[in-house]
């Protein structure tokens, strides 16, 4: 029996991004634009060069399908942008990866979002948090016993409210591959504030698709990566 190369292609990596009112725009669109450019090649295999790496799918998750705004609820005169979710928390497709951005909006209780994180976490392969997105993951309890970092502007507040997490202050990003909390090996990748999410996403992409692919995306975005997760220029 001979299989054609295409039948042995890896399954798509299903990525979701959790949106809430007052999310930080760059927390979302920094990492996402790395994935956008990555998808130009991974999602477009050619007959002569079938993709050796998994293609990706993306769901933008919110409580409803109504456009969702970056406007910080407590700053009504701030500039903001609105984007379209593609799925609701109750109609979310199965996910391998959940990315949680931060922002002013994380100061709200967000009970539906917290419950969603708690319920989806055990089925994930990767949890990625950017900035104060780590606060939401911590609030859901899924970071307890894990090493993680978060932004440096709101550091004391985040750490005080989540004493069960092994917070790493001196880090641009942190990877925890332990199996604490009885999960079956969810890798938790957490970054420092806002722009650090792009460095985290590049490191994550490199870990799955390899250095050459990450380097290609880097050149398209003309992005100057910070390559040392354990060092942080903003500490």
């Amino acid at each position: 029996m001979t299989d054609s190369p295409t039948t042995t292609s890896p399954p798509p990596l299903r990525i979701g991004v959790l949106l809430f009112p007052g999310f930080q725009a760059l927390d979302v669109f920094g990492p996402l634009d790395v994935l956008n450019v990555l998808s130009w090649s991974t999602n477009t295999p050619s007959p002569t060069s079938p993709s050796p790496t998994p293609p990706i799918s993306l769901a933008l998750l919110s409580t409803t399908l109504t456009p969702i705004s970056t406007l910080p609820p407590s700053l009504p005169n701030a500039l903001s942008q609105s984007i379209l979710p593609t799925a609701t928390l109750t109609s979310s497709p199965p996910l391998d990866v959940l990315l949680i951005p931060g922002g002013w909006g994380t100061r709200a209780p967000l009970p539906e979002h917290i419950e969603y994180i708690r319920s989806v976490y055990p089925s994930l392969k990767y949890l990625l948090t950017v900035c104060t997105g780590g606060k939401l993951a911590a609030r859901a309890g899924v970071l307890d016993g894990k090493r993680a970092t978060t932004n440096k502007n709101d550091w004391e507040g985040v750490v005080r409210d989540a004493p069960g997490v092994e917070w790493v202050r001196e880090a641009r990003w942190v990877v925890d591959k332990s199996t604490a909390k009885g999960d079956s090996g969810v890798e938790v990748w957490s970054s420092a504030g806002v722009s650090a999410g792009v460095d985290l996403m590049f490191a994550w992409v490199e870990s799955i698709w390899g250095e050459e692919v990450a380097g290609r995306v880097e050149r398209v975005l003309e992005f100057r990566r910070w390559r040392e997760g354990e060092r942080d220029p903003f500490v």
Copy 2:
């Protein structure tokens, strides 16, 4: 006669962003998140600290008010996101600043966008282009005789199609304050590819609101600025 401090506040700086199908997400949301964070202070003056710098307004411009997607038209399987415009090209509010992003979408003719650039340009104080956004400005003729740069991945094509522009290859961004083309001193700020747009926006913000304000935004975004416009790590 004694005026209260608020009556002497400067007028808002009116900023527009030109959107088209297949714009590059980070070309827009990198610079915009600098402005978002800036607006937390400039658009929220307190009685004890009236804003010494102009507040800002933002229009997201497209041909219609329909959500507009980053999907490259020729890459239908790519990942993408859709955002909401706030004004159309024909109902655009008066602008002081126009930001033109780049992306795959610039390969389309975009006649309405080109005509819009041409018509709004004489009334601007600042034109900001990111990445291949410079190609659209060049196509509208408003860069002729001006110094400008663009991304390094599509360099040859952009330069070949716009021989009237003084293209600067070795640059992260370029500022042209000349009054070529008979305009009454529109400052043209152009950046290299994608992420360079954030460096450009920081430099522009610093030129208007000062170093202290730019530094505060920098720390919120934990963004590592590239401060040398005339040098380019991606040449």
